[in-house]
Symmetry: C2
Subunit: 365 residues, 2 copies
């Protein structure tokens, strides 16, 4: 089977359970106990199910490397350092990001059930995958969830020639009626690095407002953008209010690294750099129980989402969406097709990983 996959030209379809099995075994082989490997598998498979391929299997080798090199400790369990009825300060103890994140969000939800709000900040964490995984944990409890993380420096503050903050994503999920929901999950940079790489592969320019050249001006050259490594904040240049995106990135940093006492801003470990120190990321998790406010939250949200989706679009072929709709469409596609459709290069990378770890390669068709 593995041989077939490697030589095939088209993408391959892998069932979600098989994706999870593969991640679980790889992470366990790299040194994490089964429960922790399962947490990682859930988050990575969910990223691919939602169509965020950059954050799914694509990152597995990074997590495995961090475990194998000892940069991340797969076995540890987070510790609560300080607690009030509505808050907790947590030490992730350099454990796997999904283990820390799941622990913190469960704690936030428990506190929100007691007091209406739970607010948990963690230091000593690692990359936790898609932020929406954690905010969406609140949906099952009919709560509003939020999650934030700092990340390696990539964002150039407005007017600056250098990067100083991460893509610092923020996510908010809120329940509507009949399983519908609002799920915002966005980097506070204009785009993630992956979007620039895609344009480069295609040989196309990038829009002004995505990234800077070495002088600090906007560039439309994807090669230059990748070499300089300075993403512009959401909003782009100062004339189009890029300082607001920069302000949001700093807000996220303040709620993560600064609040939790983790590393922050320019001191966060470089992305894929060769620094041999733990990431010590800061993360923040919030749960709010809408039942503490006006009754009927889910119905009103549903009404608003429906009104927005029904608005007249400029292009009849491109309907108005709300945050979470593209991901929901991808989830339906995965359901329909019976699995996630991967690019052959991803399949090959997974086969190489399987071989190096002595794990059964993914089965697919």
């Amino acid at each position: 089977m593995a041989q077939q996959l490697t030589t095939a030209a088209g993408p391959r379809l892998v069932a979600l359970a098989e994706v999870q099995r593969f991640v679980r075994e790889c992470v366990a082989k790299a040194g994490a106990p089964d429960a922790h490997a399962r947490a990682m598998a859930s988050v990575l498979a969910e990223a691919d199910r939602r169509g965020h391929f950059s954050h799914g299997l694509n990152r597995l080798d990074m997590y495995v490397n961090d475990l194998q090199s000892g940069l991340c400790d797969g076995a540890v369990t987070p510790r609560v350092l300080r607690e009030t009825p509505a808050t907790a300060w947590v030490d992730g103890c350099n454990g796997l990001g999904p283990v820390v994140g799941t622990f913190c969000m469960e704690l936030a939800i428990r506190k929100a059930r007691e007091t209406g709000v739970g607010w948990v900040a963690a230091k000593g964490s690692n990359h936790f995958g898609i932020a929406a995984w954690y905010s969406m944990m609140a949906l099952k409890e009919n709560m509003i969830g939020m999650s934030f993380t700092n990340t390696s420096p990539f964002l150039s503050p407005t007017r600056s020639k250098q990067a100083a903050l991460g893509t610092n994503p923020l996510s908010l999920a809120a329940p509507a009626e009949g399983g519908d929901s609002y799920v915002l999950d966005m980097a506070t940079t204009a785009v993630a690095v992956g979007k620039i790489e895609v344009q480069r592969r295609r040989g196309e320019r990038i829009p002004a407002g995505w990234a800077q050249d070495a002088s600090g001006a906007a560039t439309t050259d994807p090669d230059e953008a990748m070499n300089v490594g300075c993403l512009m904040p959401l909003g782009g240049a100062e004339s189009t209010s890029g300082y607001k995106g920069y302000g949001l990135a700093l807000m996220v940093e303040l709620l993560c690294g600064v609040l939790a006492g983790a590393t922050y801003g320019p001191d966060v470990r470089k992305w894929m750099g060769d620094e041999d120190r733990p990431a010590d990321l800061g993360q923040c998790f919030v749960a709010v129980d809408p039942q503490c406010f006006a009754p009927g939250f889910e119905g009103r949200l549903q009404d608003l989402l429906s009104k927005l989706r029904a608005m007249e679009p400029a292009d009849p072929a491109a309907p108005v969406l709300v945050a979470g709709d593209p991901e929901r469409a991808h989830e339906a596609k995965v359901e329909r097709e019976g699995g996630v459709s991967y690019h052959p290069s991803q399949i090959i990378a997974c086969e190489e990983l399987a071989k190096s770890l002595g794990v059964q390669p993914m089965d697919g068709r």
Copy 2:
């Protein structure tokens, strides 16, 4: 004195205490008790002190009109409808926005002192002035403050030909050392309407990404932008991630109108329309005590702010700032000059208001 001001060509300097005295007397004459008039005066004077002239004296006649027409009830006091240790649902009872906002933020701070977090949502409110007034109330208590409000429809969701959400601002303030702070206060549209008006007065085009034409495409014509009345979200077009700004505007709406059970989205009263119904705005106020997390929050934030301000700028004449710095510079200017420097047209408008209400005009030099 009034005569001199009206005929003068240049701006006039008015002491802050005199600005407050004038607002207080106008609002009292329009039917609000003194304590409520003082709340309004504090917020409007603070907007002008921070250089946000669109939200200060410039709005006084709107507040006075709403009071005189009975659209807003200047005398009522907000009521708590539901309460938990960390949350409160408040009915503003159609009172003055600054009265509702101050009530709610004081409540949020009180709860944060008890449980670490206070989260308060209000329905039945009115325009509350600058969002930063409320978030900054937390600074005096060494807390992080946040405030949000929905507003009249002006923002066109990505892909839509029509407006459906407000400029929906969000504000976060956090204390640093020695009186320094981080104060983000931003509309989730690319720009506020006022910026387009300024370009129109100057006879200049607007950048693509600020506003739409009737077909839903970006326009650079300020006249067309004003006539159509569809602001683009932060990020501008879909190619530069405008859907993120739209997502943030919807997040604010969800935390305000939807959570509080106020009017929301396209149902919010039109701006300066002739609809004779109360605004019933929704607003949200959050306080978080950083002492519940890692000790030393203010020092770390200070360190980060200092590092950002010290970054090498692309243009040596335009240093890197953090949110709140331009406002702090304006506050220093007001302090230095002994008052707020107003445009003659604002002075004339205030004199007309003074005359119509029978209030002593503002004294200045």
